[in-house]
């Protein structure tokens, strides 16, 4: 059960996590409350790519020793709800903004969520990020990586748009 929920966690402990996602989602929606009709296909392509990719990637990074183990439910929610849905929604509203702005947005939101999950579930507990020591470095480090979401999304969408019709790639 610990591998599913995390050490000492119950399903109830996940409710505040979902509440946190919801609250941040509402904040994200202030600037752009809906996903533009022409972006919806792109949104679902990104959703599938990021959610499945990061879900598997998190486990592989754990095996490689560069990430702590994310309990399976935490990993699922973090990738399929947070990264796939919420960050996808954020990208749908922000993809026309300058890249540094998008980077900052994604880093800030990711940091809040990782810090929240660390506090609520005790996950994201590794004490170093690459060669930098300390749990804070670990959380900040991966948040900075999440800041690359817009750039990586563009890199993913660009070749894909040549074969899949109707994808929006902001140059």
């Amino acid at each position: 059960m610990d591998s599913l929920l995390g050490y000492g966690n119950t399903l109830t402990d996940y409710l505040p996590v979902l509440f946190m996602y919801g609250a941040l989602f509402i904040v994200m929606g202030y600037a752009h409350p809906t996903i533009e009709l022409n972006f919806r296909k792109t949104f679902w392509v990104l959703y599938a790519g990021w959610a499945v990719g990061v879900f598997i990637g998190n486990y592989l990074f754990f095996l490689l020793g560069i990430m702590s183990f994310l309990p399976w439910l935490n990993n699922f929610l973090h990738t399929f709800v947070w990264i796939g849905f919420c960050l996808g929604f954020l990208y749908a509203g922000a993809h026309r903004n300058p890249i540094p702005e998008q980077f900052a947005l994604f880093v800030i939101f990711s940091f809040i969520v990782k810090w929240g999950e660390r506090t609520l579930l005790g996950t994201w507990e590794l004490d170093h990020f690459v060669l930098v020591h300390g749990n804070l470095a670990y959380i900040v480090g991966w948040s900075l990586c999440d800041g690359l979401y817009p750039v990586l999304s563009m890199a993913l969408l660009k070749p894909l748009s040549r074969v899949v019709d109707g994808l929006i790639v902001h140059e």
């Binding site: 600037a31 752009h32 409350p33 809906t34 996903i35 533009e36 009709l37 022409n38 919806r40 296909k41 792109t42 019709d165 109707g166 994808l167 929006i168």
Partner: protein
């Protein structure tokens, strides 16, 4: 004569009075005689219960004497049972429910209380049910509830205030109910809300509901709470706007109920066109043309849930029809979706309210968020062209220059092609100068005033308007549909002409079909999801989709579909309008002629245009200045009045949103500058009429002012401090999906294509980058003509 439901209620009341009477003895007797005497005498509730049941018995007995007259007693009975239920429930929850012993037997108190609650509950349900059905059967109402009906009756009793009233307040309320029953407005429930609000508003000042206040006190109450407190700003702004909204709607309902009744026509000096002495002569001089047939698909013919066409156009008004013609000419076939009904001109009548309900968006109840600003739009096959005044002004050249200015609006329109489109559309719509005999009968006074004021010479422009009206009979019914085929609306010209030239397959029209949102796949809009009037859902697919549903509906459709979020619905502008009424000593019969026949445009412009204007009695009563006796007396001078409308092209500070209880939220407050221009125009209008010999001029202010001199008129800015102090309206919403070469500013590009989509176009007044300050229909048509080739050649 009582109805069967009322007789049933009377029987119930008699039975109840008997039961309650017996219950009195049921409580008293054991206390006086028998083995339980000692127990009963000690119980204080015996006295209370005897009093309570005794009072209920008397109430039921008296109420059964006349269930109509003593309705209040029945309400008291119902209220008494409610209180009893609540009190018993409170005892059950918080009170002492220990068993009691009487005569050696233990009685469980909980069971007794529960039994009492059930008994009271049964009586309560029966009484409420019987009382409601008795009321419903008495009034046989179509839309309002009996309570709302009584509120309206009570309101009409004091609002229609004169010594020559021809209809009883109940007749007025009944007329309103009949009309509301037939109204197809989605927001008509607001009327119910307003009446309920007005009924209970007095409770806030510790008075009984409105219908229970004596007539004279009711009038005093309404004057004080809805008029003085609002005028003197004695209540907080939100409360003030609520009170103002309620009384405006309440009194408009009364006027609608009173002045729509043919029995009142003679009293105001109005003669319907069909009864005017020279009608036959006018028709003989300008015969009614034969109509080209228009084929509109009946909903019953739509048997599938999905249909497919080449081009799908949402809307059927000025832009949509010209586009359909242009596209059909280019070899494309069109499916046109119209939310409103198809009303064949042969069905047009002289009944204003009926026609307004059938031809206008939301039965002309489309209001801004604060209920202070009315936005009129046609909603029928042919759109606003069926109900407007057909006035045609070219786009002022300076406005086109401003639109194309690279530093600001950046519209990117080709001026040469734009002017060519104006020329072509003028020919297509047979636009001509209205210099015939059947003009607004008040225009002579207007022209006289212009001359005396010195505005009758260049550079100022004035004279008869251009309009797509040919051989006008002067019936004065432009705003409720021209039955005589003289106003060349889309219903009479372009739509039937397109079907005649290119076939009914080239233009299919589906009426009663509301587009609710677009369906898309990537950058392509694949179709339109619609709701049919009969409740069915329909998906209409097409290679090209065009939105031409008018400034507000088009913006909302894009927003509902998640298109151009953050840009659609913004930068909404209007031609802000307010009337100036002039009273003359002689009979004018201004209703007997083309409603808008003359105009004045000053050069250099002071930001407004003045147009002569007058209406049949209901529409005129709704905009007639004054309250109570003032309004009534003004209506008695109806045939000695004439009007001008002052139009101000506003700044683009309005917003349309999918929000609020109706899903159509129009937020707009005039800027200081626009408001000053409006007041300036109203003062000039008044001065023109005073110069022409008007005995007085009356702006449509919340605080009634009847100006007999120019000095009095110039006090207008002191009385009108903001938009809440004057009646404002528009039939010309513009912007919302503005056209610009800058994707960050505009919703559509100069080819009218929505940014980010390959096959979605918007073409109507919503693409105007700013307000144009004159009647916009010709510009709407010209832009549609301009856009048609771009759209026809676009690859879907």
């Amino acid at each position: 004569m009582l109805t069967s439901q009322e007789l049933r209620l009377r029987t119930l009341l008699r039975v109840l009075s008997l039961i309650f009477g017996l219950a009195v003895f049921g409580y008293l007797l054991p206390a006086l005689v028998g083995p339980l005497q000692a127990f009963y005498v000690n119980l204080p509730f015996v006295t209370n219960s005897v009093v309570k049941i005794g009072v209920l018995a008397l109430l039921a007995l008296f109420a059964s004497g006349d269930v109509r007259k003593y309705r209040l007693l029945i309400l008291m009975l119902i209220a008494g049972h409610w209180i009893s239920e609540l009190a018993t429930a409170a005892v059950l929850i918080w009170g002492n429910t220990a068993p009691v012993t009487a005569g050696g037997t233990e009685f469980p108190m909980t069971t007794i209380l529960l039994g009492s609650m059930i008994l009271d509950g049964v009586i309560l349900v029966l009484l409420t049910w019987f009382a409601r059905s008795a009321e419903a059967s008495r009034y046989t109402l179509q839309y309002l509830s009996p309570r709302q009906f009584r509120t309206l009756t009570a309101l009409a009793e004091v609002v229609i205030a004169g010594d020559r009233e021809l209809l009883s307040p109940e007749q007025v309320a009944r007329n309103v109910d009949n009309y509301l029953g037939g109204f197809r407005a989605r927001t008509k429930w607001i009327m119910k809300l307003v009446l309920t609000g007005m009924q209970f508003y007095p409770l806030l000042s510790f008075r009984p509901p409105l219908t229970y206040i004596r007539n004279d006190e009711r009038l005093t109450f309404i004057k004080r709470r809805f008029y003085q407190e609002v005028t003197l700003r004695l209540i907080p702004p939100f409360w003030r706007s609520l009170a103002q909204g309620m009384i405006r709607m309440g009194k408009q309902l009364c006027y609608l109920g009173y002045y729509s009744d043919p029995a009142t026509f003679a009293s105001v000096g109005y003669v319907p066109f069909s009864q005017r002495p020279d009608t036959a002569k006018r028709i003989a001089a300008s015969p009614i043309p034969e109509r080209k047939p228009l084929r509109v698909q009946a909903l019953a013919e739509i048997v599938t849930e999905r249909i497919r066409g080449d081009v799908v156009i949402v809307g059927s008004g000025a832009a949509a029809s010209v586009l359909a013609h242009g596209l059909a000419k280019a070899g494309r076939s069109v499916i046109m979706l119209e939310r409103g009904d198809f009303v064949d001109p042969s069905q047009f009548t002289e009944d204003e309210v009926d026609m307004i309900s059938r031809l206008y968006a939301d039965g002309a109840l489309q209001l801004s968020r604060d209920f202070r600003f009315q936005v009129l739009q046609g909603s029928c096959v042919g759109g606003t062209t069926v109900v407007n005044n057909a006035v045609c002004f070219d786009l002022p050249p300076e406005v086109l220059d401003r639109w194309n200015d690279l530093q600001s609006l950046k519209a990117g329109l080709d001026p040469e092609r734009v002017w060519d489109s104006f020329k072509q559309v003028r020919e297509l719509m047979q636009v001509e100068r209205q210099d015939h005999r059947n003009l607004n009968k008040g225009s002579k006074e207007f022209l006289d005033g212009l001359k005396r004021c010195g505005y009758d010479a260049p550079p100022d422009k004035h004279g008869e308007v251009d309009a797509n009206v040919r051989g006008c009979l002067g019936c004065g019914y432009c705003n409720i549909g021209c039955k005589y085929g003289k106003k060349l609306s889309m219903l009479d010209t372009v739509l039937p002409m397109t079907q005649a030239e290119f076939g009914t397959d080239a233009l299919r029209i589906i009426a009663g079909c509301e587009a609710t949102r677009f369906l898309g796949k990537g950058k392509k809009v694949t179709g339109v999801r619609c709701r049919l009037k009969d409740g069915r859902l329909l998906v209409v697919e097409g290679n090209t989709v065009i939105v031409a549903a008018g400034a507000i509906s088009s913006s909302l459709l894009l927003l509902r579909s998640g298109i151009a979020d953050g840009r659609a619905g913004q930068k909404l502008s209007f031609n802000l309008g307010s009337p100036m009424t002039a009273v003359f000593d002689r009979v004018l019969n201004a209703y007997d002629g083309l409603q808008i026949s003359h105009y004045l445009a000053l050069k250099p412009s002071r930001g407004f245009v003045i147009e002569t204007w007058f209406n049949p009695p209901v529409a005129q009563a709704l905009t007639m200045p004054g309250w109570f006796e003032d309004h009534f007396n003004n209506m008695m001078r109806y045939n000695r009045m004439t009007c001008t409308g002052v139009l101000v092209g506003t700044e683009s500070n309005g917003v349309a949103r999918v929000a609020g209880l109706t899903g159509r939220d129009v937020e707009y407050t005039p800027t200081r500058g626009d408001f000053s221009k409006l007041l300036d125009g109203l003062i000039l209008s008044g001065e023109i009429f005073l110069e022409a010999g008007a005995s007085c001029v009356i702006p449509n202010t919340f605080t009634y002012m009847e100006c007999r001199t120019k000095e009095e008129l110039r006090r207008l800015p002191d009385v009108v401090r903001d938009a809440s102090d004057i009646t404002l309206g528009t039939g010309h919403p513009q912007g919302g999906n503005v056209l610009s070469t800058d994707p960050a500013r505009g919703v559509v590009d100069p080819d009218f294509k929505v940014y980010g989509y390959d096959n979605l176009f918007v073409c109507d007044a919503s693409v105007f980058p700013s307000s144009i300050g004159v009647n916009p229909q010709l510009t709407v048509m010209a832009l549609a003509h301009y856009a048609a080739p771009f759209i026809a050649n676009a690859k879907g």
